[in-house]
């Protein structure tokens, strides 16, 4: 809401300096978003006339103009607006001017043509809310005169953020009431009644309302013999200050009264409204029938939903009630008689229609927040009087007033004790009453106050609504700060939340940076990854996505990780080690909400660090990823887990594994398959993993940690090199070693894997084709004595025999 202080001071005495007034409004709930001092920064803006307008040879959207500003030579100006023609008079900012928005005008070349100034829109001048084109001045605006002088700009306009519960503050009268209440002065709402003559309005208009809920009140006035023309300066200035472009005297009056009182009005050309048998313009208010259409004032032909509220005449719809008028009954230069509508419509209905059609008007904005039905006739009187004043003509006697939805004013009980209970204050009933009365509320009673709520405050429906009014007028800054006592509460994280924190902390300690990506996904990712959903799984689809690439919810973290890898690589960052912990989504036919799964995934590529003077560096591969998971599992209390060879379409075969914890597959690990790298424009190797967080949390819950004695006696360490077939896994050999080792074998680990290099000639081979050598280090120890060679040798020899038999190995000599 734009509030001109010149206008406001007609209604209320402004006793505070502007800055203090703004503070006071801020602190009572009406935020001042901006203060515009009109005329400031307009020193170099003069009135010019466009002499010629030509298409810019090299830019479709630009025109090349010569503009007379009263100087010897016209200025050459390149302009991007298109709402003007040669002959129009417009404000021109000359070179050197710094406009209110901070833009300094320079002589510049635009697509090859020199521009010596700028023609301005209202918003660039800080005088209006609309940016759609230049401010076109009346044809008699004097060329060469400074614009500020011409427009008499010496006003300050406040831009107020009006919250949706305060429809009353969408009018000057409401703002005046608010300013009066918060600064402790009085105010007055302008009222006027037109001089009336001729045939009664009811002889020219009839009104029929179908549903009093959708339209509690409809009033109509008739003004005959008007002359449509431009508005007088004072009127044009005020509607401009409020943020609307002046149209003509009648339309400007309807807008003026809307801004002044908060009542949206609509002027029909009476002659174009179809009549009933009695020759009266027969206004109906009803919902649309299926398939009905209307052409609105903006020239759009609109299909209507069945519950859209319409204003009709016998020929069909003539306006979208409360949203926008229709083209067929629009006021034009030929109009002489006006049918003035001042009505009240159901907020929910207006909101629905305006949402469906994507059509938000100053009128719909007010109706969807609630307009006081009592206001309709007063606003009609005021507008009729003003139309007669600025457009000539005479108001017909009387007002057609259908008011089926009349209601008694609302009465609410307000307990002073409850005020203090909720706010933590110590206000007396008299204090409370003194705060509420200036808002126009009628307050009686003592401990339990009875408050009568006027129609312009539809938001005050309950006791708590009144307490809010007390709070803001008392001043939140005056409420003492305390903190809850809170007997019986407990705080902290759950074990699952702590495990999640630990997973993140461990991955960071292992060198991975945390990434947060979009939760959105792209169904094309299925193809890029070669991912197949389980037969009963369905991706979670958005009905109204922002783009095709974000049209579903992600079902895996992979694309987010791969995109981050690619983003870094394309920007010359080759070393990327990231993890993400986030929700993935999958649903099924018949489900309302999808399943949400918390996953943790990682991607590693490049080196841990660039090679250094003492560190050659190494390209990260599968085993760096596996090392990260080993570190993670250790930090989670070493659950029993293994990496089991497995094949996944998005991973390179032979470098891919399932992560199995306590027998359950909880995720996977591997190097990205080449076609996946191509699809995400990443270069490999990229190691990827993704694990289910709840599964890890469960594993931590199962892991039991007990103290084990620290060894007191020395160990005997023996090495063992075995030659096995290529397909024998280290894990298989180790399992066999462990089962054969008995109680003396403390631990076994692999420390070398050897194969003859490819292409080794037969005679120099150390190993047969298809074989590899695995070297293990075995630690034997007893908890009660120092082992001798004689203790260990028989055990070791037996172990070797058993293992060789079990895995088909030979001891390498």
């Amino acid at each position: 809401m734009r509030v001109s202080l010149n206008w406001l001071s007609d209604l209320v005495k402004i006793t505070l300096p502007v800055e203090e007034l703004c503070d006071r409004l801020d602190m009572t709930g009406t935020k001042v978003e901006a203060v515009h001092v009109l005329g400031e920064g307009l020193d170099g803006v003069v009135i010019g006339q466009v002499l010629t307008r030509e298409q810019h040879p090299d830019a479709d959207r630009l025109s090349y103009c010569s503009v007379d500003i009263g100087a010897e030579e016209p200025l050459r100006i390149v302009c991007g607006a298109d709402n003007f023609a040669a002959g129009d008079r417009v404000p021109v900012a000359c070179v050197g001017t710094t406009l209110p928005n901070g833009l300094t005008i320079k002589k510049a070349k635009l697509r090859g043509l020199v521009s010596e100034g700028m023609m301005c829109s209202p918003i660039e001048l800080g005088v209006g809310g609309e940016a759609s084109g230049l401010l076109i001045l009346p044809p008699d605006a004097p060329i060469g005169v400074p614009y500020a002088e011409y427009a008499g700009l010496s006003d300050t306009v406040l831009e107020l953020e009006v919250t949706p519960n305060r429809p009353d503050c969408l009018s000057m009268a409401g703002v005046a009431r608010e300013v009066a209440a918060v600064t402790g002065v009085s105010f007055s709402v302008p009222a006027s009644r037109p001089a009336e003559s001729g045939g009664a309005a009811s002889e020219s208009v009839s009104v029929t309302i179908d549903d009093p809920v959708l339209c509690p009140r409809y009033t109509a006035r008739v003004i005959r013999g008007v002359t449509i023309g431009p508005s007088p300066a004072w009127l044009a200035e005020r509607v401009t200050a409020a943020g609307t472009r002046p149209v003509n005297n009648v339309v400007d009056v309807t807008n003026y009264v809307m801004y002044e009182l908060g009542q949206p009005l609509h002027a029909f050309d009476l002659a174009r409204v179809a009549t009933d048998a009695a020759g009266r313009a027969a206004i109906g208010v009803r919902t649309a029938a299926e398939g009905e259409r209307i052409r609105t004032l903006d020239g759009q032909d609109r299909a209507l939903a069945a519950d859209a509220l319409l204003i009709t005449d016998p020929s069909g719809p003539i306006a979208l009630a409360g949203v926008m008028g229709g083209e067929s009954t629009e006021v034009s230069e030929a109009t002489t008689d006006i049918l003035l509508e001042s009505a009240c419509f159901d907020p929910a209905s207006i909101s629905r229609t305006s949402r469906r059609l994507g059509l938000i008007s100053e009128s719909s904005l007010r109706f969807e927040r609630g307009v006081d039905p009592d206001l309709a006739s007063r606003a009609a009187d005021r507008a009729a009087a003003l139309i007669a004043e600025v457009a000539g003509g005479t108001a017909a006697p009387g007002i057609v007033d259908e008011y089926p939805g009349r209601r008694e004013p609302r009465r609410l009980e307000l307990r002073a004790g409850r005020v203090n209970q909720l706010l933590g204050t110590a206000l007396s009933p008299a204090d409370v009453s003194a705060l509420l009365v200036p808002l126009g509320l009628d307050v009686t009673g003592d401990e339990v106050l009875t408050v009568t709520v006027p129609g312009f405050r539809p938001d005050l429906e309950r006791e708590v609504d009144l307490i809010e009014e007390v709070a803001r007028l008392y001043g939140l800054e005056n409420i003492a700060s305390t903190r809850p006592g809170g007997r019986g509460r407990v705080g902290g994280r759950t074990p699952g939340q702590r495990t999640r924190d630990r997973i993140g902390a461990t991955l960071r300690a292992a060198g991975l940076d945390e990434h947060i990506g979009y939760s959105f996904g792209d169904s094309q990712d299925l193809e890029r990854l070669g991912w197949e959903c389980a037969p009963d799984e369905v991706l979670v689809e958005l009905i109204n996505p922002m783009s095709e690439e974000q049209a579903v919810m992600r079902w895996t973290l992979l694309p987010s990780l791969l995109r981050a890898v690619s983003h870094n690589q394309r920007r010359g960052v080759p070393d990327v080690h990231i993890y993400e912990m986030g929700t993935t989504f999958i649903t099924a036919e018949g489900r309302k909400q999808p399943k949400e799964r918390l996953m943790v995934g990682g991607a590693l590529t490049g080196f841990w660090a660039r090679p250094g003077w003492n560190d050659p560096g190494a390209t990260l591969d599968f085993f760096d990823g596996k090392g990260v998971l080993e570190t993670l599992m250790e930090a989670l209390g070493s659950p029993r887990w293994t990496a089991r060879p497995a094949s996944r379409p998005w991973l390179q075969d032979g470098r891919s594994a399932d992560v199995v914890v306590d027998g359950d597959v909880v995720g996977w690990l591997g190097e990205a398959a080449p076609q996946v790298l191509d699809a995400y424009e990443a270069s490999g190797p990229v190691v990827l993993f993704e694990l289910s967080v709840p599964a890890l949390v469960k594993a931590v819950g199962r892991a039991s940690v007990r103290y084990r004695e620290i060894p007191r006696y020395p160990a005997v360490t023996l090495d063992l090199a075995l030659v096995v077939d290529e397909d024998v896994t280290v894990e298989r050999v180790l399992a066999s070693i462990r089962s054969a080792g008995g109680t003396l074998l403390e631990s076994a680990r692999v420390f070398d894997v050897y194969r003859d290099p490819a292409g080794t000639p037969e005679d120099t081979r150390r190993l047969p084709v298809g074989k590899k050598s695995l070297a293990f280090s075995l630690v034997y120890r007893a908890s009660d004595r120092t082992l001798t060679d004689g203790d260990v040798r028989p055990v070791h020899d037996k172990l070797v025999r058993k293992v060789c038999g079990a895995v088909g190995a030979e001891v390498r000599g």
């Binding site: 939140l476 409420i479 509460r489 705080g491 300690a509 945390e514 689809e541 958005l542 009905i543 109204n544």
Partner: protein, 353 residues
Amino acid sequence: MTIIDELRSLEREALAAVAAAGTLDALEAVRIGYLGKKGSLTAVLRGLGALSPEERPEVGRVSNEVRVALEGALDSKRTTLQHAARAERIAAEAVDVTLPGRRRPVGRQHVLHQIVDEIVEVFAGLGYRIAEGPEVELDYYNFTALNHPPDHPARALQDTFYVRDLSGDRAAVEGESDVLLRTHTSPVQVHVMESQKPPIYVLAPGKVYRRDVADPSHLPQFTQIEGLVVDEDITFGDLKGTLEHFVHAMFGPERRVRLRPHFFPFTEPSAEVDVSCAICGGQGCRTCGGEGWLEILGCGMVDPNVFRYVGIDPERYTGFAFGMGAERIAGLKYGVPDLRLFVEGDTRFLHQF
């Protein structure tokens, strides 16, 4: 030459050899040459038995003198040589300490989660728990139970992401759905109040979604932190004191806090919370848009209608709720100029915090 003369001459010769030895090995050779089993001094001492009883005491005394002198010289020379050798090794091992060390890479927590953790820490200290809820919500939890009327503008298709409902239910408004991406973390309030009796002290951080085109100041996905307290005798003063404590813990005790009345459907009275600008201290500057204050929070007393939806008696219990955005706080704290940096995963960005 008498045997005494011979001993003296041997002594001179041996001491000269000790003095000349330049290495520990050479010194050891000298020791062996004189004092070893086959050493020349050893040979002399071994010959004492052949001397006459008159000669023996004198020769014995002198030869002992020689042995002690030689051993003393050997020890002191050994020490000297050892020190020299150590000094040489130390000199050889000196490095340029300005060369970089061998380091293990360490990962960084995402700046948004650092902010969330910091906030959680403050409220955990005040006895709050962490609550969670689904990101794909039902209209009921996101809007209805939070006292949004059926035609509230936030429900519009242009603001809220709707999700295809596969249950076969039809939504009240055409084109919309009962299922949506939560637009705020406030639905967690409803879940908590449905499943738990007061006293309730919870914090709910999480991702939320609104239909904004990603640009420097908007993202379709961002991070909110919601707080909820429901207990007996909770007042607006408690809300104010709690948030003041939070702001001072998070931003520093010198920052001032102000609550401006505002409107939210699910709290009443409601307020927005501003913190005095760190750059100008409240005078007004570019960072705060000349206002001297930065808006960081929305809050209010839980609306009785919300209590009614979850079956809590609003006469017995009162409560407050607040919500804030991690991106906004990170932006203010670190001066991040473009919100899109938060979701791109550029490691040069991630490593700055």
